[in-house]
């Protein structure tokens, strides 16, 4: 009976793994010709898994009923919120992929299968309630990601991105495992609830070391400074649909996982990790803002922008309150929309032969020949910079509000000052598009799927998005309440 209940709780993962296996067979027999069909079916599987995950969020599920497999997996509203974002981002990266890969005749039927398995791994990550679950989910996601980064194997930059990501990712996994083994040694258990109970009171030096190593490993996965070095190279080298995926779904998963670890496992040692998170957040904001200034490749610019945004999200975590967690989730949802919109817009920048345009100098004067695209890209840039009335402002507002209410006025002040620095390079892109001599390079036609996706993202981040604040905030509150549920 208990086993069946557990299986029912992990139904989204079951759907994803079974459809992944079935589609793998379809890929083996159908070959690369069937890849478009397989992509559509994979999106359908993600939608199905999303529908299975959604009820937990709507009901605000929390407490012992959400524990599966003897407390290794926790399928509460928080996990469901993160899962829905992850599935959306994965589906978006599947939708944009065929048009990009088919041009270079590199669309392979395995692409959607790998994305499905990566999404499954991320689902396991966000519902982890045990160090072993955490690691298994993380590796499932990472292994698929390494392969996806090197997917254009004839392209040197893609191969380099894959190798770099793999070597540094393995190093980060090593950090994480070392921290986990120390934590296990000093707590005597791998379950988050058990660690929470065992470490209550004074924390020993060894357990503190474990916490620091675990946080370092996780900071690598969310590409927070000072563990961000791989991000620009991997984002630039990986094929753009894969970069869309990297910048959205795994960020959500790793961020949600970090929240789970610090709240569920180390919730009794707030003072131990709060400083670390604060410093990582500030360094990320500053590195992201300063590093982006010198970039001339728009994908690298977006990579630094993601480091910058991760810093802002971490401010919500540094507040260490339920309100902070809720603000982080809202920010993550808006960030996913902005990132997907941004990378889809980059995918749509093509020259007359359909070659991708990535240099910022080449999009000069874009507003003269691709008006709608220029407007959308400008909106996304303004939104990433957090300029009202665009929706990106709301996320930043919520995390700063949470930080101020937790009594961290200096942190919020430094963050706001740094976001002004960050606005510089976002505005530089807008200036190049609107006020520079037209370079007339990015004139290529774009796919209808890209246009549709960009339109959806643009509407979401436009001031119309504020109509959703109540609904989105309510969902995030439910998820954060489940995260902080004590019972």
């Amino acid at each position: 009976m208990e086993f069946q209940a557990s299986l029912a709780l992990v139904a989204p993962e079951l759907v994803l793994s079974l459809s992944g296996l079935a589609l793998l067979l379809a890929a083996a027999w159908g070959g690369d010709k069937a890849s478009r069909l397989i992509s559509i079916l994979a999106v359908a599987a993600l939608v199905g898994a999303g529908f299975l995950a959604a009820p937990a969020l709507c009901n605000g599920a929390s407490g012992p009923d959400t524990l599966a497999f003897g407390g290794q997996v926790k399928v509460d509203a928080f996990a469901a919120f993160a899962k829905l974002l992850i599935y959306l981002a994965a589906a978006a990266s599947l939708i944009v992929a065929p048009a990009f890969f088919e041009r270079v005749k590199a669309m392979r039927a395995e692409y959607p299968v790998l994305v499905l398995f990566a999404a499954m791994g991320m689902g396991i990550m966000v519902s982890a309630a045990d160090l072993v679950t955490l690691y298994i989910g993380l590796e499932l996601n990472s292994l698929a990601a390494y392969v996806l980064a090197a997917f254009l194997r004839t392209d040197e930059r893609s191969a380099e991105a894959g190798l770099k990501y793999f070597v540094l990712g393995a190093l980060a996994s090593g950090f994480l495992l070392y921290g986990m083994s120390l934590t296990y040694g000093f707590a005597g258990t791998t379950s988050f609830a058990g660690i929470h109970a065992a470490l209550a009171g004074d924390m020993s030096k060894g357990a503190l070391f474990g916490l620091v190593f675990v946080l370092s490993g996780l900071a690598f996965k969310i590409s927070a400074a000072p563990f961000h070095m791989w991000t620009p190279d991997v984002y630039e080298g990986a094929p753009t649909p894969v970069t869309t995926f990297f910048a959205s779904a795994p960020k959500v998963a790793a961020m949600a996982l970090t929240m789970r670890v610090v709240v569920d496992a180390f919730g009794a040692q707030v003072q131990a990790w709060q400083q670390i998170v604060m410093i990582v957040a500030l360094v990320s904001i500053v590195v992201g803002a300063l590093g982006a200034i010198g970039q001339d490749n728009i994908k690298r610019l977006m990579a630094y922008s993601s480091i910058n945004n991760v810093g802002f999200i971490l401010i919500g975590l540094a507040a260490a309150t339920q309100q902070g967690a809720s603000a982080m989730l809202v920010y993550l949802a808006i960030y996913v929309a902005m990132t997907i919109g941004g990378f889809v817009a980059i995918l749509m920048l093509k020259d007359a032969n359909g070659e991708p345009v990535e240099q910022i100098a080449q999009i000069a004067g874009l507003s003269s020949h691709r008006k709608v695209l220029a407007v959308c890209l400008a909106m996304i840039m303004f939104s990433l910079a957090g300029i009202p009335p665009l929706f990106g402002f709301w996320g930043k507002f919520l995390v700063f509000q949470a930080a101020v209410q937790a009594g961290m006025v200096p942190l919020a002040a430094i963050g706001i000052a740094a976001s002004v620095i960050g606005a510089f390079y976002y505005l530089k892109v807008v200036k190049v598009m609107y006020f520079d001599e037209p370079a007339n390079v990015a004139v290529g036609k774009s796919d209808w799927a890209h246009q549709a996706l960009l339109a959806i993202c643009a509407i979401f981040i436009s001031p119309l998005g504020y109509l959703l604040t109540g609904w989105l905030g309510g969902m995030a509150d439910k998820a954060a309440a489940a995260l902080y549920f004590v019972g």
Binding site: S6, V10, E13, S17, G20, L24, A68, F69, G70, Q72, V73, R108, E110, V113, L114, F117, M120, G121, I124, V132, T133, I136, G137, E139, L140, L143, A144, Y146, V147, A150, F151, R153, G162, Y184, G185, F186, A187, G188, T189, S191, G194, A198, S204, G206
Partner: protein
Amino acid sequence: MIQTLAFYIFASLVIASAVMVIMSRNPVHSVLWLIVAFFNAAGLMVLVGAEFIAMLLVIVYVGAVAVLFLFVVMMLDIDFAELRAGFVKNFPLGLAIALVLLAEMVMGLGAYKAGGMQLGTPDGTAAAAVGASNIKAIGALLYSKYLFLFESAGIILLVAMIGAIVLTHRQRGDTRGQVISRQVARRPEEATVNTQPEVGKGVQL
């Protein structure tokens, strides 16, 4: 008594073969000595009642790792004489590293003896069933408590396999693959011809 005897035999063989690994001139011999060392270490593990680890040592280290070493040694043209050339020059450095390791071991043992570490106590959720052999105990845990994670780990291996194939497999246009159905459907009459060549004329094909 017999256990003590077996322990000393296994232990001295481990050390002797480990010495031979670094002393032997032929790298292939080194790898073979390494395999001997692994087997004897497996024997030691059986003695302490960890037959699962003994099995892993034999299957993973001897079966996979050592064979991999052997392949690498045989396939790469490494000049081991040249590698060994700097031995005297690097000897002090090696000695220093060995001393550091020794000091660490002594300090670690000292700390352990002094009882300075407050390690956590196992919560008992992963405790083995009383009386079961450790292979049984691990199997029982893997297929009941850790079933979900065990199966997920299987998916990880599948992803690794897909990845290896995606990144390395390529269809070349100039190779002639085997079409089994055509091969099976072929009859002797299609493949062979009986001719009666005249003497001195040869066969017209």
